[in-house]
Structures are given as structure tokens and as C-alpha cells.
């Protein structure tokens, strides 16, 4: 089924495989540095030192942890469903790597007279691919929780499923808005469409929805209910130890890299940035890395600032806030793009004024409606 394009010779093959291998290990190394960065930033915000021993300023701490976990005894609980229990960590890890395949992290470089793009595959369905891989990520968690044969993982995995699918809808709507604004599903086209202004500015609501849904999708605090240690021990990976636990950990952080990279690609101009003309291939790569680090820093900051949200609030925030806002934003984006073509720019301004006026009137009338709701009785706490 996967026939190679006819003009590929052995050099193309070598470059292709080398590209994939380099990206794969670059992601692994970035996860290593990311975990170190998170621990260092956390330590800094809590006025501690953080890891200091392994390597200069503790930069090799993740490697040390990984090696330790690699040689640890792996326990398979008696009630576990063995094949599924062993496969679940691998299943949890793979989609995270595959999602990274469509992200352009630079312009590319010319090697041996061939153009090597800094992107594994520029699919024409880029955004759909990202959504699909995001959905597959749920399987690892569900299977892990179910196959462990223990109560806490099962509860954690069911929670996690409900949470991830709820926020996936919001994320999908944010992506639809971006797609409408830039007019393409292809990642390279979306980056190209941001040559004048980053999508984060005209598409700010979509950006905010995406960042929040991304927190929930990666199960990161304050949305880390699936592994809420005060209630569920460690959630879906309670029964996992040794290398299998390390794989869940790896998958989770690869996922964080992917979510941040997608945020950068879709909203923050991707690898675009002003740069000098010498070593032209290097600067876009550096811009991309700098932007990803900035988004990751934001996620770490959020984690260290906000307390964990209660489960019912998590669900009602997703369903009652993100989804309606996302739907309205999709419609608004459609109107802003289409109406000027039909009626000219003046009509758009009039329309915008009418909408703003309607919102103002509604907010003025709100106090008249709100007390009635209260007397009807929300659940008294």
C-alpha cells in the first residue's frame, strides 16, 4: 500500500530514515531536558535548588531516573490481564510520537543536493492527523486502567477518558476556527499564512481554548484528576513499575512537547521569526525551540500556581463554557471572513457594532434575570 514515489533512490531513502531517526531521538532528548526544566522551574518558584547532582546543574537527572527505572523490578499484579497490561504503556507512548510527525520545526536544509525538510511528513490533513492521534492517546490510559485488575487504576482511567473526550470537543472547535482563518489543513500552509501576524492575535479565543484543552488533554495540573494522588493513589498507572512506568511518563511528556509544538505552529507563527541571512536553516529551528520552551514554561507556571480543580467543575467547565464559546467563535470567524467579501468592509463594522451592542444590552439585563435563578435554587452547599 505504501509504495514509494517512483523517483526515490537509495540516497533519498537514507535521508528519509536518517531524518526520522534524528527527529525521534531529538524528541526523546527534548523530553529529558523538559523534565529537568520543569523540576528546575518548580524548584526556583518554591525557592529550592532542585536536582543538582547528576551532570552540570542536574541536567542529566532524567537520564539517571530513566536508567534507574530500567533496572527496577517490574511487577505484574496477580489480577492483571497480562498481554493488555504489558502493551498499554507502549500504546500510550506511540500516538504521542506520531502526532509530532506533522509539525514543521524549521524550513529545511540542503544535504548532498537534496532538500531535507524539517518536518517528518507534510500531510494535507495535518490538523485531522493531530486530532486523530490525540484520540488514540486515550486508549493507552483506558487499557492500562482496565487491565491492571485493581480499583484505583480503573477509576482513574474512567475519569481520564471522560475528561479527555470532553475537552477534545473544545480543542476540535478551536482547531476548526484556525483552519477557517488560515484556509488550509496543512501545517506548512498554516505556518505560511502567518507571515504577517500570528494567529494568536486575531484568533485569541481559539488560542485560549486550545491552551486550556491542551492542559486537560495532557492530564496536567490543574486538570490532573486522572492521577489525583490524594484520591486515587496514582490513577491509571498505580500498578505500573519499572520501565513500564517510565514509558507512561515518557508518553505524557512527549504529549506535552506535541501540544506545545502544535500551539506554536497553529497560533504563534511556527518557525517564523526575524533572522540574519547566514546559516539560514538554523534560525527558524532556534525560533521554533524558543517558542516551544516559552509555551512549556507557561504550562509549568500554570501547574505550579493553580490548585487542582474539582472533578464536577472540570466537567462543567468543559461542557458549559469551552464548547459554547468554541461554537460561537467558529461562527464569528466564518462571518468575519465571508461577510466582507459579500457586503464590503463597512457592513462588517456595522455588524460588529451590533454584536457588541447586543452583548452590552444583555449584560445590563443580566441582573434582572440572575436573582430569579438564584431563588429557584442552585444546590445549596
Amino acid at each position: 500500500m505504501l509504495e514509494a514515489a517512483p523517483e526515490m533512490d537509495w540516497l533519498d531513502w537514507i535521508l528519509l530514515v536518517a531524518r526520522v531517526v534524528v527527529v525521534f531521538f531529538a524528541v526523546l532528548i527534548s523530553v529529558m531536558l523538559l523534565i529537568w526544566m520543569e523540576r528546575k522551574v518548580a524548584a526556583d518558584m518554591q525557592t529550592r535548588m532542585g536536582p543538582m547532582r547528576a551532570g552540570p546543574r542536574g541536567v542529566l537527572i532524567t537520564l539517571a531516573d530513566g536508567i534507574k527505572l530500567f533496572f527496577k523490578e517490574g511487577i505484574t499484579p496477580t489480577l492483571a490481564d497480562r498481554p493488555v497490561y504489558l502493551l498499554a504503556p507502549v500504546i500510550a507512548m506511540i500516538p504521542a510520537f506520531l502526532a509530532f510527525a506533522v509539525i514543521p520545526f524549521g524550513t529545511g536544509v540542503t544535504l548532498f543536493g537534496r532538500h531535507v525538510p524539517f518536518q517528518i511528513a507534510d500531510l494535507n490533513v495535518g490538523i485531522l492527523w493531530v486530532l486523530a492521534m490525540g484520540s488514540l492517546m486515550v486508549y493507552g490510559i483506558v487499557l492500562a486502567g482496565w487491565s491492571s485488575g485493581s480499583n484505583y487504576p480503573l477509576l482513574g482511567s474512567i475519569r481520564s477518558t471522560a475528561q479527555m473526550i470532553s475537552y477534545e470537543v473544545g480543542m476540535g472547535l478551536a482547531l476548526v476556527a484556525v483552519l477557517m482563518y488560515s484556509g488550509s489543513l496543512q501545517m506548512s500552509q498554516i505556518v505560511a499564512s502567518q507571515d504577517r501576524v500570528w494567529n494568536a492575535i486575531p484568533q485569541f479565543p481559539a488560542f485560549a481554548i486550545y491552551l486550556i484543552a491542551g492542559l486537560a488533554e495532557t492530564n496536567r495540573p490543574p486538570f490532573d484528576l486522572p492521577e489525583a494522588e490524594t484520591e486515587l493513589v496514582a490513577g491509571y498507572f498505580t500498578e505500573y513499575s519499572g520501565i513500564k512506568f517510565a514509558m507512561f511518563y515518557l508518553g505524557e511528556y512527549v504529549n506535552l512537547v506535541v501540544v506545545s509544538s502544535i500551539a506554536v505552529t497553529l497560533f504563534l507563527g511556527g518557525w517564523r521569526g526575524p533572522h540574519p541571512s547566514f546559516v539560514a536553516w538554523l534560525w527558524p529551528l532556534l525560533w521554533f525551540i524558543a517558542k516551544v520552551v516559552a509555551v512549556v514554561y507557561l504550562y509549568i507556571w500554570v501547574r505550579l500556581t493553580l490548585p487542582r480543580i474539582r472533578y464536577d467543575r472540570l466537567m462543567s467547565f468543559g461542557w458549559k463554557f469551552l464548547i459554547p464559546i468554541g461554537l460561537l467563535w467558529v461562527l464569528a470567524t466564518g462571518a468575519v471572513v465571508v461577510l466582507p467579501d459579500v457586503y464590503g468592509k463597512g457592513a462588517l463594522l456595522t455588524g460588529a457594532l451590533i454584536v457588541v451592542g447586543a452583548i452590552l444590552v444583555a449584560s445590563l439585563l443580566w441582573p434582572l434575570i440572575a436573582p430569579r435563578r438564584q431563588s429557584a435554587g442552585e444546590t445549596p452547599q
Binding site: 514509494a4 531524518r19 496477580t78 485488575g149 480503573l154 473526550i165 514509558m247 466564518g334 459579500v342
Partner: protein, 145 residues
């Protein structure tokens, strides 16, 4: 067309190899000294009981799954329109506004009938259906929320 997916196939192979190889090599190198207590499912030192047969959960989780399907299909339906809506122009926009409005009616209905509330039903409804003889049975349903 499909050759676009070739690098992804290579990446998938690599990821699977990496996962399986680390599991396999680690299994060869690590110690393996199981004891009965070590292999017991995690619990605070007691013989754990599995969740009841059939694994029943609060119906809320099923409701969320069904709502997800509805809204996800809606999102999927938005994608083809979003690709071509510049060509479809005002007609396409009006069509989509009608579609979203219809889904929105359903959404408001679900919200009003409590489908989006994770907490117990409001006291008004709890009063309408007071605890009955069924209560002891109902208690056996394990709360997962």
C-alpha cells in the same frame, strides 16, 4: 499520495521497536523476585476486592460518552465546510449557522435537563423521588466520580 505517509510508517516502526525493545531488554536485565504480597493489587494492606462484576459506573460517564459522539460528529462535520467555506460564501455560512443553531437547541435541552451537571440531581428532583426499598441495592453501585 500515500508516499506522504512513508516517513510516518518509518516513525511508527521506530516507536514500536523502541517500546518493545525497552520492555524486552529491561525484562532480561532487571531482577525478578515476586512475592505474594508484592503481586497483590494496590490496597492498604488488605486483600482487595475487585469492583463488582459487570463493573457498573454512574450513568454520567455513559451520558458524557454519548454527548461526546454527538458533538464530535458535529466538529467533524464542520471540518469539510471549514476547508471550502470561502468558495461557498454567504450561502455556506447561513447553512452552517442553521446547523449550529439546531445543535445548539439540542445542547440547551441537554443542559436544562441536567445532562451536563456532574453533581447529584437538584434537591427538587431528589424530593420527587424519595429513597425507596431499592436503596440498599443502589448503594452497591460503585461511585467512580
Amino acid at each position: 499520495m500515500l508516499s506522504e505517509y512513508l516517513p510516518i510508517a518509518v516513525l511508527a516502526t521506530l516507536a514500536v521497536l523502541f517500546g518493545v525493545a525497552s520492555l524486552g531488554v529491561s525484562a532480561l536485565l532487571r531482577p525478578n523476585r515476586p512475592t505474594r504480597a508484592k503481586l497483590a493489587p494496590y490496597e492498604c494492606g488488605i486483600e482487595p476486592a475487585r469492583l463488582p462484576a459487570g463493573e457498573r459506573f454512574p450513568v454520567k460517564f455513559y451520558v458524557v460518552a454519548m454527548l461526546f459522539i454527538i458533538f464530535d460528529i458535529e466538529t467533524i462535520f464542520l471540518f469539510p465546510w471549514a476547508v471550502g467555506f470561502r468558495q461557498l460564501g454567504l450561502f455556506g455560512l447561513a447553512e452552517m449557522a442553521v446547523f449550529i443553531a439546531l445543535v445548539f437547541v439540542a445542547y440547551v435541552y441537554v443542559w436544562k435537563s441536567g445532562g451536563l451537571d456532574w453533581r447529584e440531581p437538584a434537591p427538587r428532583r431528589a424530593a420527587a423521588a424519595p429513597p425507596t426499598a431499592l436503596e440498599p441495592e443502589a448503594r452497591e453501585v460503585v461511585r467512580a466520580g
